[in-house]
Amino acid sequence: MNQDILVAILATAITAGTPILFAALGEILAERAGVLNLGVEGMMLVGAVCGFICALQTANPWAGMFLAMLAGGLLALIHAFLTVTMKANQVVSGLALTMFGTGLSGYLGKSYVGTALPVPFENYTVPVLGNIPLLGPVFFQHDPMVYISYLLVPALWFLIFRTKAGLHMRAVGENPAAADSVGVNVFLTRYIYVIAGGMLTGIGGAYLSLNYVPSWMENMTAGRGWIAVALVIFATWNPVHALWGSYLFGGIDALGFRLQTLNVLVSPYFLKMLPYLLTIAVLILVTRRNMVNRIGSPRALGLPYDREER
């Protein structure tokens, strides 16, 4: 394999990992606040289709991104209402959201299947950094959304671990009764991060339809939402780890794609299976590691909070 191919694969790893990264970051926010949202796949799909339609109509990919963000946030709002206010089971609500999102996106996007997007995001080469050999083309010759995700990772890390808001988020996810007793608004906090998480997830979906592919196909996320959910565990609820994890999955995705075009004698079905196999393998390894290091999920993850309940 010569260097150009390697660079190309690595650069694709980044773009392939970016939608997963956005979704995983969103899920980290929701789970840190104690709400498990299994609706990631559904929110991504709705984000993808809304973003695509809007970008097509307005001929502006940024408008598409914006609408995808709103759509993701809106679906997450439903989840927040059901699980935080109505205290419904989070697993059931999340699964329902995925099914609903899958159906809704298929319906909305019916007449757009196969249409090509005339106005995808353009790639910008970052001055100076983009010209570094190897690193430049891998990391710094991408579209603006990739750069936004670069900034988002340290920003969210800072939010979670270094700010008052982040302290409240973690407290609500670990022990809502304790947080409540010192005056943290558990319900508001959970709403905020579930919705913010949904917005990021919607963006992740739209990145697929507006940039990575770019067109709309039914079910185009192909399980990436579920990979993002697994990735959150792999990342131990830490945005920085989510970054590496996403690119690892993106890399496998890109590699499979490349090998196919290189006519390697491996069944294309097997190659397509790789990211999912990796998910299972990684989950097994990581769960064992987390058990040894006593890193657990946020304690209150999945549990509704009721102030007067014992």
Partner: protein, 509 residues
């Protein structure tokens, strides 16, 4: 010269499904006083103070702070009004540091945390009041006593003028209790109002400036220091004279039923928990284990019953080595277990009394018809047990979680005892029970002892241990620091051993 009221609760009523926890209660706190709220378990003390702390909304009544009426929509409002409550079950977040816990929810915290500044501030605060804490330790590493200090510092940091402590001494040794009381007196002198919740008369005598007695959700009296008298308090609290008399102890047999030899195990966090525990329990003997909660008591019970792996040492039951056997195999050696959380480990909350009774005995041929359960026999069996153990129950089919603590404990004991055990391991068997239920549980234990059962009684209540035990062993930091015949020691000595100081008791096994 009476000081002004800091807060007043007027005519507070709070209902929970099926109970009126507070019924028209008046309560107030003056500047500079220690006001004890006394009552049996379940009399509504915690509920009343949770209303004051903004956690529960009262159904009726009003809260007056410094003469103005206030409505608390959440704990936040109460904190702003200067009311700080330390709950019975600490409200701390294990995975955060002490400093992070203290500043949590505080409005003066800047948006970007500067933990260094905060840690310095905390060190000053803790020095000023003699409350030793380390701001950078993680809460899960702390002992219960340390956690309590963190809770107090947390409230002081918020500038609470009224400090409510819900049964703070339950997790402390007698000596630590004295220390806490000293600190409380200092804080009262500095002009704060202190509310201390307790069900121990001793503590009223020791510290109260005033005492309010609750019974079944109603105030039965508010007395000042001069009016307090032990006998009358007991009468007010229970509503009848309490004369608890236990049958004279029989003489224990010599048969060794349980032999624990240099046993080690790990805690839930994977750190050494039991560090070489040895003792023996004979047939017909109650062996009490005293100690501050969290020194390895639960783990000791779990090791004996096979729920927790042993990492070193040996356990013999009735002369047979049971180290490393499964809980089921140990049950078959006729070991009964009354765990500390009766509704979590002991019983299945959502199942009926019949199903709970059957959990341990469904394999017996009488309760089976081939692979199916013989429900008729099970009901028959359950009805007998309910009658024999005087369990009040609305229906055999109702989920047991609806039952009161005393009835649950009798249900659990009934199930465990019908297996005719050789050894009964009971962990905090009277925790959360009122005096009547306590008495009935104790009678059951004594009956079993008289029948020759070896009983390992783990308790945090020294009164209970002294009343029931033939011998008392003290556990501290995963080690037995002393074993003494009950009549040859006293609360002071046991208290010292509970803090880890070397005892004078002989180390006999």
């Amino acid at each position: 010269m009476t000081a002004p009221y800091l807060v007043e609760l007027k005519n507070i009523t709070k209902r929970f499904p099926g109970v009126v926890a507070n019924d028209g209660v008046d309560f107030n706190v003056r500047k500079g006083e220690i006001h004890v709220l006394l009552g049996e378990n379940g009399s509504g003390k915690s509920t009343l103070m949770s209303v004051l702390a903004g956690l529960y909304r009262p159904d009726k009544g009003e809260i007056v702070v410094d003469g103005t009426r206030r409505v608390f929509r959440s704990p936040r409002d109460a904190i702003k009004a200067g009311i700080g409550m330390i709950h019975q079950h600490f409200k701390l977040i294990d995975s955060l540091t002490v400093a992070e816990n203290v500043i949590l929810g505080d409005d003066s915290t800047p948006p970007v945390l500067r933990l260094q500044d905060i840690q310095r501030k905390l060190e000053e605060l803790s020095k000023k009041y003699g409350l030793h804490i380390n701001p950078s330790s993680m809460v899960w590493q702390l002992s219960l006593g340390e956690k309590q200090r963190v809770e107090i510092v947390k409230m002081l940091y918020r500038g609470s003028r009224v400090l409510v402590l819900d049964e703070p001494t339950a997790v402390l040794t007698p000596q630590e209790t004295h220390e806490l009381f000293h600190i409380l007196r200092e804080m009262a002198k500095a002009g704060r109002g202190i509310v201390l919740i307790t069900h121990k008369m001793q503590e009223v005598m020791e510290i109260a400036d005033r005492v309010t007695v609750l019974r079944r959700g109603k105030v039965v009296a508010t007395l000042t220091r001069e009016q307090i008298n032990r006998r009358e308090l007991a009468w007010l609290m229970v509503g009848r004279d309490v004369v608890i008399q236990y049958k004279k102890k029989g003489s224990p047999g010599n048969k060794k039923v349980l032999e624990v030899d240099n046993v080690h195990c790990l805690s839930d966090l994977g750190r050494p928990c039991l560090k070489g525990v040895s003792f023996t329990v004979h047939s017909g003997e109650i062996f009490g284990i005293a100690g501050v909660a969290g020194n390895g008591q639960r783990e000791l019970a779990e090791v004996i019953t096979g729920l927790r792996p042993v990492t070193g040492g040996k356990i013999m039951i009735d002369g047979i080595d049971t180290t490393g056997l499964s809980p089921r195999q140990i049950i078959d050696r006729r070991v009964a277990y009354v765990p500390d959380d009766r509704l979590g480990t002991g019983l299945v909350p959502g199942l009926s009394a019949v199903d709970n009774f059957m959990l341990k005995s469904y394999r017996q041929s009488v309760l089976r018809r081939g692979p199916l359960l013989n429900k008729r026999a099970a009901y028959q069996n359950s009805r007998e047990l309910v009658k024999q153990f005087e369990i009040q129950i609305s229906s055999l089919d109702a989920p047991v979680k609806l039952m009161s603590g005393g009835n649950l404990q009798r249900l659990l004991l009934a199930r465990e005892i019908t297996s005719e055990p050789l050894l009964l391991v009971a962990v905090y068997p009277i925790r959360g029970l009122d005096i009547k239920a306590t008495q009935s549980v104790h009678n059951i234990l004594l009956q079993q002892r008289d029948k020759g059962v070896a009983i390992l009684l783990i308790s945090e209540d020294l009164d209970e241990l002294f009343k029931l035990s033939d011998r008392i062993g003290v556990i501290y930091d995963g080690r037995i620091t002393g074993i003494m015949p009950a009549e040859m020691t006293d609360v002071e000595e046991v208290g010292l051993l509970m803090m880890g100081s070397a005892g004078t008791g002989e180390m006999a096994t």
